[in-house]
């Protein structure tokens, strides 16, 4: 049977000792899971290894750990697959999840971070009016729409790898915001606007997500929390026109209209408008002035180095007139629809007639790369 070496991070906070690494070599088939590897090491070599687990079938969400630096369910990761992604000389590196305090070895304090944040978004239905005599009738499409966020098993993998939370521990975070979408997208809930206003105005809310895709990568269930956060932003900004104090909606409005007017982005105008409001006069608003003053060290150096010239900042780059008109027509047509259209590939899947072109391209690239190497 093949051998696998697990390099496990050990830590017992109350011991007063620093964390350390310990290697365990286990004899197991490659298709067995990293969790089985850890449990085998614990049963046969060292009963003191701390790991939390239950179902061993990727449904309870207990055994979230970091494997080779990325959050995953230990029970859903094959040993051979983990070895392949290892950067550490044939060792599978297993650590506790990030962004949460360690209780012991691979066990983190989910209550202190994950569950606290879940509670923050009022994770239950708040229906309006008296309950119906019989069951609530919900259109099928509406339920399908929230299934993606309902697939969450609360394992905390996305929280572990969230790069915004890494620098701002207040950030409500991917799991809780995906949970928030589950209620904002549910027609039975009567507090959509209140929920969205709350999450837009909170400096640690939907506009604190840095759009890094790490939660999408980490999630073992395809919830794509970042996509749910973007849907919350779309609804907050465009359905309810919530102008938040974090500049989230103003930024999106300014960006979108500058591209409509010029075809490409005019950054020198985007920044002041994001603070001061989406119009020519935005840059004269007090908020834009304050921001300008705060950024002076960077602005002065950019001007000195001729990175930005005063004329370049005052005059937008534009695409040719005919093309600007095309772009404007596209805006008119799309924004003139009664209802916004969205395609969620989680629900619709890919066409089965043939492979998506993207994949075929990658394969072709892999082949050409092989031949040139």
């Amino acid at each position: 049977m093949p051998e696998f070496t697990l390099k496990i991070r050990r830590y017992l906070p109350e011991s007063g000792e620093a964390p350390y690494w310990q290697d365990y070599t286990v004899d197991l088939e490659g298709h067995r899971s990293v969790l089985e590897g850890i449990l085998t090491a614990r049963a046969e070599q060292d009963g003191t290894i701390g790991i939390r687990c239950s179902c061993r079938a990727a449904i309870c969400g207990s055994c979230g750990v970091r494997i080779n630096g990325r959050a995953a369910l230990a029970c859903k990761t094959h040993l051979e697959e983990a070895l392949e992604s290892s950067q550490a000389d044939g060792e599978i590196v297993v650590e506790p999840m990030g962004n949460m305090p360690v209780l012991k070895d691979l066990i983190v304090d989910m209550d202190a971070v994950h569950w606290k944040k879940i509670q923050r978004v009022t994770p239950w239905l708040l229906p309006e009016g008296p309950p119906p005599e019989r069951e609530y009738v919900v259109p099928h499409e509406a339920m399908v729409d929230v299934t993606q966020s309902m697939a969450c098993i609360q394992c905390g993998a996305c929280v572990s790898d969230c790069l915004s939370m890494e620098v701002d521990s207040d950030f409500i975070g991917p799991a809780a915001l995906a949970k928030a979408y589950r209620f904002v997208g549910d027609p039975r809930d009567g507090q959509h606007e209140e929920r969205l206003k709350d999450l837009s105005e909170d400096p640690a809310g939907i506009y604190d997500c840095t759009h890094c895709f790490n939660c999408i990568e980490a999630c073992p269930k395809g919830v794509a929390p970042m996509n749910q956060i973007m849907r919350l932003r779309r609804m907050a900004g465009d359905d309810y026109e919530i102008v938040d104090r974090n500049n989230g909606h103003r930024h999106e409005q300014a960006f979108t209209s500058l591209v409509r007017d010029n075809g490409i982005l005019w950054e020198a105008e985007l920044l002041p408008r994001s603070y001061g409001g989406d119009s020519f006069f935005g840059k004269f608003a007090p908020a834009a002035g304050l921001e300008l003053a705060d950024s002076l060290p960077a602005i002065v150096r950019a001007l000195m180095r001729r990175k930005v010239t005063p004329m370049g900042a005052l005059r937008p780059h534009k695409i040719p007139k005919e093309d600007r008109e095309q772009v404007e027509r596209i805006y008119e047509r799309v924004e003139g629809r009664d209802e916004r259209l969205e395609l969620n590939l989680y629900i619709t899947g890919f066409e089965d007639e043939d492979e998506p072109a993207g994949e075929t391209e990658s394969q072709a690239a892999a082949e050409s790369q092989g031949s040139s190497a």
């Binding site: 392949e84 790069l163 915004s164 620098v167 701002d168 950030f171 604190d208 840095t210 759009h211 890094c212 990568e217 973007m230 932003r233 779309r234 900004g237 465009d238 500049n247 960006f255 979108t256 591209v259 075809g263 490409i264 982005l265 005019w266 950054e267 020198a268 994001s274 603070y275 950024s295 060290p297 960077a298 150096r301 180095r305 001729r306 990175k307 370049g312 780059h317 695409i319 005919e322 093309d323 772009v327 596209i330 047509r333 799309v334 916004r340 259209l341 969205e342 395609l343 590939l345 619709t348 890919f350 066409e351 007639e353 998506p356 072109a357 993207g358 391209e361 690239a365 040139s372 190497a373």
Partner: protein, 298 residues
Amino acid sequence: MKVAYWPGCVSRGFTPELHGAMAKVAPLLDIELVELDRANCCGAGVIAEHNQELADTLNARTFALAHRTDGAMMMNICSTCQGSQSECQQRLDANGDYRELINDNLRPDGLQYERGVTNKNFLLVLVEDIGLDELASRVKRPLEDLRVGPFYGCYIVRPRDRLGIGSDLPRDTYLHRLIEALGGTVIDYAGMYKCCGFPIITMNKEASLRQAGTHLGDAVDAEADCLVTPCPLCHLNLDLQQPLAERVVGRDLGMPVLHLPQLVGLALGLEPKQLGMSRHVVKPTSVIDWSESVVAGV
């Protein structure tokens, strides 16, 4: 090799040195740049956040224009363009009805999106189409003794399935392999795959600059001479905002950040000034010193 070249908005705005460096490097690699000067902004994820159909239509328009360039491959010099255009392309390619609907938006202007447009960042073109062996054979001034930290940026490494990254196509190692092929020393540091923080610079400036400052600090601690990035938006937060990031993390950084074509250009024999490095907010002193020491050594 002819490419339908999409420079993006930022390389014509706040990072003009990027567009300039690419124009200088392309002929040295026999790349013919046919600029898509009629194409529009990719939306950088922000337009999609406002209206997905709008972002998909705008990018379908760009792809349709690229397709007209004798069917040449489309090449971008911005990871963020790569990521947001790939996201739209994934939806366009995944569903025929949806594609038809988007094409209805383009039809009045005589444009149509057809599946099969290849769109690659310069980094991917270098490794997959030019080849690192070929590139290495053109190196005039190997980056010997230059310690370079890769900064990938989110949009070119995540999500892996959409970007076609896997063990058969390790696109998330290309920057490492490229630095090696140019003769430089790769410096690994904690932040090399993390987010520069730029997307929230107007929403949570403190958190945004803390991200940039932390990664720059990690690179300083790992004793890198400079960083290199294929993303001009990362460059804005790492270079233009570096003085402010220093304030947030409370330490001096002084870490030069190069655009990908600048690093390639250096190895191909161009001078830092020709590559627009004098326009960076953080003066790349270590890189200039290095290039002068190489000249002195010859």
